[in-house]
Symmetry: none
Subunit: 210 residues, 4 copies
């Protein structure tokens, strides 16, 4: 909808300092949602705590904005890639996985799944939001790839719910173990690309018609 009278919320949104969202992402990932103090977010962004409340009506709102501004656009890009991709589905799957790893797995964003898994229980509204905006949409992404593969006869008939989750799980796991798992089950960063290659091969192997 390109109406000329943008709602107030929309106009503000444009002005929202990226610094606040960057600082918030950084601290949320570093310390978790509950343990992050808005004081610190504001300080890290170089503004006062009051200013933060000009842009975000609450801590939860700030978190949602972080998710909306950081991960959600990437889902859009990925959807675009699927729309326009012209090669075979195996290439698409590989491409998608690699670019997804580059834009999420190797950045701070990789901390969000761990964060959500840890805090979802205490912040149901956040859990609902994340589930809808990120997880469901991410799963739909893979569902489309699998559907494309099946339509082209490249892969066997799979269960679109179960197999999607099975395919996604290992990568989530890799991310959670990478950033800031603080000595608990940590994996050395330089090993991660090896993991990723193994993952892609194994995953596709489990999909092709034998």
């Amino acid at each position: 909808m390109s109406c000329p009278f943008k709602p107030k919320w929309e106009r503000r949104k444009e002005a929202r300092p990226k610094e606040l969202l960057a600082a918030a992402l950084h601290l949320f990932v570093e310390r978790g949602f509950a343990a992050t103090r808005l004081d610190d977010v504001a300080k890290a962004a170089g503004v006062s705590k009051g200013t933060l409340y000009l842009y975000f009506s609450s801590k939860e709102d700030l978190f949602k904005a972080v998710v909306r501004e950081s991960i959600v656009p990437l889902l859009g890009e990925a959807e675009g890639m699927i729309d326009e991709f012209e090669g075979n589905t195996e290439s698409l799957f590989r491409q998608l996985t690699l670019s997804w790893w580059q834009s999420i797995g190797e950045t701070k964003l990789s901390g969000l799944p761990k964060l959500m898994m840890g805090e979802a229980g205490n912040f149901p509204e956040l859990a609902r939001f994340y589930q809808e905006e990120v997880i469901a949409r991410g799963e739909r992404l893979l569902v489309r790839v699998l559907e494309r593969g099946m339509e082209c006869g490249e892969i066997r008939k799979v269960d679109l719910e179960i197999d999607t989750r099975l395919l996604i799980a290992p990568v989530i796991m890799m991310m959670m173990m990478w950033k800031h798992s603080s000595c608990v089950c940590q994996i050395e960063p330089e090993k991660l690309s090896v993991y990723l290659e193994h993952y892609i091969r194994m995953a596709w192997n489990s999909l092709v018609i034998r």
Copy 2:
């Protein structure tokens, strides 16, 4: 005097710690370490806040006790099983995995890995404790199985550090996604036994000499 009024307290010296530990495990797993209020732990155990401090000197101490009394003994049992096992190593691995899943994966204890992953960064002392008492010891468990398999010529030569972690990771993941991940990436409980069977087969396949 058998008056109808409940006495303000009852002497329950022996029962108290167990009740407190059970309540604490429940709440820690449900809400995480930081978000669990000792008030609630006490209330859940049917005692006052002060009573909790008769048995545990601090919140961290309570958490350590939970870990010590619940998970650590299971590691002892597992070590015993390895000592006495007489069949081939594949059976041992299968047996170990299944009994471990029964005693941990299917109980509240499955919530601890998620908890630790989420809060390790904010409670370094707890992370250190858990790493030493549980993770390191758990890894040694699997290391012994792999060594046994190699000595008997049942499995190929493996890297005792890397491959151990790779083998453990999927099960940790299953547990974290099962209990209380509150709609984020959750897997239906009845599917988990299928996951487990897949895991065992895949894991052993990756170990045997091809």
Copy 3:
């Protein structure tokens, strides 16, 4: 009153373990009244906290008992000494001062004045008690010595209120600075006897007829 039916309070009093009073004195002097935990007093006396309450109805009561059993009898002895003393008043003053220093100044009892000075404000009932039972009675002691000296023509006419206090002050000061003043204005223990000699000479000098 030597009636054969001692009141219950009196009978109990005899049985009161000296250990409790000793432990209490020790800890009160070491840490102050408010900061001393009855838990610790009981533990130091080798009994349970409940037992303490069999003998003393409250923390304040325990403190009063400490004072009554430790300092007050010494005042009685001193009064006896004055009654029976046969030498001149200067000897009496010297004797009194020295024995007082031996039985109070050099023992844990020296900690009580500091304690009272610090905590009197927060425990008015204790302050009242100490003032009546110890300070007033101690001052009367010296008043009697001064009266005796004046009657015998040994010393000049003095103000029984002001001069008594002036004479007592330095010794109180010495005690407060000795025990447990924890690096604040502390005086080395071996210097104290020198202080005492100086004090006696100076004090008597200020009293004799010039």
Copy 4:
């Protein structure tokens, strides 16, 4: 809108710390360090408990600030007086003593020595701080006076450590007994100036060459 309702708070950035320090000094002196509740300090300053923590990071920090803002500057002034004084050392000593009595002895600050003596044992860090910032510096003050007197041939050769302490002790004592010693050994305020005159004469007498 000049509504009749008092606003929940007023911006008083500059005034707050002073009000808090004044309230804190008052209550610390009145009740001691441990027995003073920050709640009461805040209330006395007309703010909430949380506000107090905007200015002072802990109870100990508040106490240190009280000392730093109240007593320490006076030591600076006294040092200045010594630097610039041109008369003989006896006048300097008298002047110093009198002005010190006026600015400390007659104000609430006189309560601090009593406070420290009482609580030093339980708060070692506070004791260390007070010893370094106040006592040591105060003693150096008198040492300089005595050195000046010796250099000018006005006084005999004295022991700079021992005699300094001996000279200071009586005045500390006067202060401790004056304010809030709550009927324990209390001296009437109007008598104190007589004490002070006696002290100055006696002290100087003990210093001059006989």
